[in-house]
């Protein structure tokens, strides 16, 4: 605009600064409300977890609960056997799923990246294709198979397939392994080190950040998984936290069952979301790098 008005004369420093200030102002005028609206649901979850019923149903809504009721976290947790659910989530599901997936995917990714063999890259295309395969197609036959094996009401249908690698994680690890120079392996091969030796003694120590990324991803998927347990688990004592929360909602919805239903529900939801959020904050860099890599050469 300024240029058009005075084509021969460059804008004065003052004009440039004014324009810059206007742009900055607009930027923050968008960014700040946007950030607040993204943060609000989770803020509301935590703040409602600290309220009691009368504070929940007040209009206008109470932004900062006063006084706070941190006891909800304990009382809500005790409405249902949440300690048991947490045990199931951690010991029966998340830990084995992460260990199995990372171990198997590492070995497979190594075979797809650090050894040259005819047909390798063709076969790798199938890995990429299974990444895009809608899981809905295999859901029903897998259920029938696992039922036939007598695996219903166990975590085996959710954990055993992890022993065979996860396409997405194989893909990510392969990308990481490819970045390491070939000479590393060649030198070790000349020394007579086996391929497994090279993988575990040379490659893995160099790819610790990559392993952290995929382990984090797998942890989140298992921790957050709702549909898997919903399909395979009927016995309430076997529920993971995700199903426990829904169970709590049902109890809270039966009016008259107990008071503070919503604060309890929000308190337990906060506790279940906390490990994920905490992990993110502790490993933010790793996380962001991992996700950024996802998009590259997708």
């Amino acid at each position: 605009m300024i240029r058009a008005a005075s084509p021969t004369r460059p804008p004065s420093p003052f004009q440039v600064r004014l324009q810059g200030a206007a742009v900055t102002l607009v930027k923050y005028a968008i960014l700040i409300p946007l950030t607040i609206s993204f943060a609000f649901p989770l803020y509301w979850m935590v703040s409602s977890a600290l309220k009691i019923d009368p504070q929940v149903y007040t209009i206008p809504p109470i932004l900062l609960p006063m006084p706070v009721h941190p006891r909800n976290f304990i009382e809500g947790w005790q409405v249902l056997p949440f300690t048991r659910y947490a045990f199931n989530s951690i010991v029966l599901y998340t830990v084995p799923a992460v260990l199995f997936t990372v171990l198997s995917s590492t070995i497979v990714a190594y075979g797809f990246s650090r050894i040259r063999w005819p047909g390798r890259d063709t076969l790798f295309w199938f890995v990429v294709m299974t990444m895009m395969l809608p899981w809905a197609v295999t859901m029903v036959p897998l259920f029938i198979t696992f039922k036939w094996l007598g695996w219903l009401d166990t975590y085996r249908p959710l954990v055993v397939p992890a022993l065979f690698g996860h396409p997405y994680i194989i893909f990510l690890l392969r990308q990481f392994f490819m970045t390491l120079p070939e000479e590393l392996s060649d030198a070790a091969r000349i020394d007579g080190t086996s391929e497994f030796g090279i993988l575990f003694r040379i490659i893995l120590p160099l790819t610790k950040p990559a392993l952290a990324v995929v382990a984090l991803f797998r942890f989140i998927w298992a921790w957050n998984d709702y549909l898997g347990p919903l399909i395979y688990l009927r016995d309430e004592t076997r529920y993971p936290l995700a199903l426990g929360i829904e169970q709590l909602r049902q109890r809270a919805n039966d009016i008259g069952n107990f008071s503070n239903g919503i604060p309890y529900l929000m308190a337990v939801s906060t506790i279940v979301a906390l490990p994920i959020i905490a992990t993110f904050f502790l490993a933010q860099r790793t996380f962001i790098e991992g996700i950024s890599l996802t998009g590259l050469k997708g």
Binding site: T35, I115, T130, M132, A136, I144, I291, S292
Partner: protein, 305 residues
């Protein structure tokens, strides 16, 4: 590589060794691929041609499941409409929103990583937890949003209890959880060489022209990636609609996977559910192909390809 695939006999002993080793390393995946992908895919074709309730052996029906779905099934076309509506709005809106937010975050701002964190965290919070808080927020009687509207004397919004509002409400929740796409875009934007922007400035391009002629072309492969992954995910959205609205009100959020799940695991119609799964599979493949083919016209792959 291409030469050796012609005749196995031409492999040198070293190649043989590598082939054996390579196959040994990838064998877990091959086995898993056969057990958990190939076999279920084939079985799914078979089940889709039967009536099967898990209690009695499957009864072969031919293509009846498919013809019933397309012609006489009272829900199928409604489910299809709901799904297309949801996918058609949530994915383009989500990708555009993520792209704009990423551009905003990529510009010179203070506390970038703070803003990025706030926008990304909703994407990794357990869907069950987000469903609980959104259901509470959007409640007609005591939800915070309507609480605010009410205290200003404004009309309330029946987010989840009115068929006209339910789909847009779920789309809103989906966009709220778009943080991963934002992070991917942000990484792509940071890879755009500075020199290109400088060259554009020298040529007299303003901010808008640079956005159109530098930023968009150079990040278009990532736009394509996010679009495709977005479509595949959105077509299979289950947890949020199942927990927030359970397909209601009046079946307005009965999305494809919700309906498929209901048929398979509530009504034990494994045959019908398998037929639905295959139809969805073909839709997703067709969608992906169309986007890929159109991408030749709008995706820029740089000089190296």
């Amino acid at each position: 590589m291409a030469a050796v695939t012609a005749k196995p006999s031409r492999y040198t002993p070293r190649e043989w060794r590598n082939l054996r080793l390579g196959l040994l390393f990838v064998s877990p995946w091959i086995l898993g691929f056969l057990l958990f992908t190939v076999y279920p895919l084939l079985a799914s074709v078979y089940y889709s041609l039967t009536r099967y309730d898990l209690l009695r052996p499957p009864v072969f029906l031919g293509i009846e499941n498919y013809t019933t779905l397309f012609t006489t099934d009272p829900h199928f076309w409604n489910v299809m409409y709901n799904t297309i509506y949801y996918v058609g709005f949530s994915v383009p809106l989500g990708v555009v929103a993520a792209f704009l937010i990423a551009n905003l975050l990529n510009s010179r701002i203070v506390a970038r990583s703070f803003f990025r964190t706030v926008i990304y965290v909703p994407a990794i919070v357990p869907a069950v937890a987000s469903a609980m808080v959104w259901q509470f927020l959007m409640n007609v009687q005591y939800g915070a949003v309507n609480g605010v509207l009410r205290s200003f004397g404004l009309p309330i919004i029946p987010f989840l209890s009115n068929p006209a509002w339910a789909k847009p409400s779920l789309i809103l929740v989906a966009i709220w959880a778009q943080g991963a796409a934002v992070v991917i875009f942000l990484a792509a934007l940071q890879d755009v060489p500075r020199s290109l922007y400088e060259a554009a400035t020298v040529d007299g391009a303003g901010g808008w022209r640079k956005f159109l002629n530098v930023t968009i072309p150079l990040t278009s492969p990532i736009i394509l990636f996010n679009l495709i992954m977005g479509f595949i995910t959105a077509f299979q959205e289950f947890t949020i609609p199942w927990l927030l609205t359970e397909g209601g009100p009046m079946n307005s959020t009965e999305f494809y996977l919700v309906h498929l799940y209901r048929n398979a695991f509530r009504f034990l119609r494994m045959g019908k559910a398998s037929a639905m799964a295959w139809i969805l599979f073909l839709i997703i493949v067709a969608f992906t192909l169309v986007i890929f083919r159109s991408s030749a016209r709008w995706v820029y792959y740089g000089g190296d390809k």
